[in-house]
Amino acid sequence: MSDDHGYGALERSLRAALGAPTATTGDPARPAPDDASDVPGGAPASSDAPAPSGSGVPSGAPAPSEGPTARAAGAEADALAAFRAARDAGLHASRETRRRDDWTPATDRRRPRRPLKTAVAALFASATLGGVAVAGGGLGDLPGTHTPSPEPRPAGVLPAPTRVPGKAGSTSPGPPETSTPIYPEGHHAPPPDAHREALCHAFEKGGKQGRGQGTGKGKGGDAVPPPAAWRRLVDAAGGEDRVPAFCGRDQRPGQAPPAGARPKDGTGRDASSSDSGDPPNGRAATGPDGPAARPSPPASRNE
């Protein structure tokens, strides 16, 4: 933009006209500020306290309104007074550097990109861990944990979930009140849908850990001791054969990814009928990761 563009003269003129005002630069006759009461720390917090002369300039002390030079000198004196006041009040040592105060050069100036990367990573992590948190948070409220001896509910009392929509309407998404008749005994708080979701999630997680370790690829899942989550799920469902109905078919419109994925690949059926570790294992691995991993590559590419 300089001389190679032919604006060098213009820049010089602008700089001379605007950037070098007559008064301040190297002004030798900087008058001492008026009423210089020599109390440096008297009122340190007020930034415009009258200032003692800092450099012992003989006092001419014209009023700031007398002319541009005097006014500029007054402005400088005010700035110096503010400096002294802040320094004596300890402000210069005590206040922390905010981001906007950090002008360290060159490489650090690129820093604004790092938080973006961090934000993307945090978003990814929260999306990934979110499913775990839902499952883990649900564990504390599982019905099985509240009852010392989980007795299997009478099968006849537990309606198949397909019957629940029939009661509340054929397309009922299963709000909490419709799930009430599932637990007629009433000594459990009827788990709302979120709890049931958590139960099924927890089972899938438990199946991943317990069964995956035991049997590797997971043939012959019956040899593996059923994990606690599985027991709770069976307990909540009222029997192993009820698990697929308990977990599988429950379509809720609000939760498209889990509700849509589960009936499709028939997790519940696999978990119950074959009782092998594989299908829950696979689902547990792909379930939380699938939605989270997909948005992340574009995000990092954007960055």
């Binding site: 060098g8 820049e11 700035a79």
Partner: protein, 197 residues
């Protein structure tokens, strides 16, 4: 620095000044009042020129406000001389924008625009007009620019910021600031020439 703030000698001079400024600021941060005065004298002219370009006659008041804040917050600052220019320019700019918000309601006497009309009535060549460019004329010219161009020109030419620093002050991308400054200078030069001929 040299990438756009002036011709070579000025850029070198500016670097020297920045080194001196950086040292002064460092001393001032540790309580040296004379060093703070030194930094003030180095920085203030450019700051005032920038403020004149955006708030006109109220520039000195706004500059005083800015310096009070600078003096108070000096301990927070981290950086070198060039960074100090950017930091102070940012503070001054915020004060100026506050000021403009305050005065927006009441009409301001516009002597500046009048000057634009009067400017080169007698001029012959652009160079002559440039030589004769008084503060008022320069202000009138800059005031005729769109705001983004005016600020870019002022920050880079008058305050002496480099491209990335000016961009940070303005909260824009360096490329945008560079092109705004270029367009502003081009427009100023065209105006000067056009009026001169």
């Amino acid at each position: 620095m040299g990438e756009g703030t002036g011709d070579a000698p000025t850029a070198a001079h500016g670097r020297d000044r920045d080194a001196e400024l950086g040292a002064a600021v460092e001393r001032a941060r540790h309580g040296d009042e004379d060093a703070f005065a030194r930094a003030y004298r180095i920085v203030h002219p450019g700051l005032l020129g920038y403020l004149r370009g955006i708030v006109g006659e109220d520039a000195e008041d706004v500059a005083s406000e800015a310096w009070l804040e600078i003096a108070r917050d000096l301990g927070r600052f981290r950086g070198d001389g060039a960074g100090f220019r950017g930091w102070t320019a940012t503070i001054a700019r915020h004060r100026a924008l506050d000021h403009l918000r305050r005065v927006r309601s009441r009409p301001r006497p516009t002597g500046i625009e009048q000057d634009v009309l009067d400017l080169p009535a007698q001029g012959d060549a652009a160079g002559e007009a440039l030589d004769a460019l008084s503060t008022r004329h320069a202000l009138a010219l800059v005031a005729g620019l769109p705001r983004d161009q005016a600020e870019a020109v002022l920050l880079r030419v008058v305050v002496g910021l480099d491209g990335p620093t000016a961009a940070r002050v303005l909260g824009k991308r360096p490329g945008a600031v560079r092109s705004a400054a270029h367009r502003g200078l081009k427009r100023l030069a065209k105006q000067l020439k056009g009026r001169g001929r």
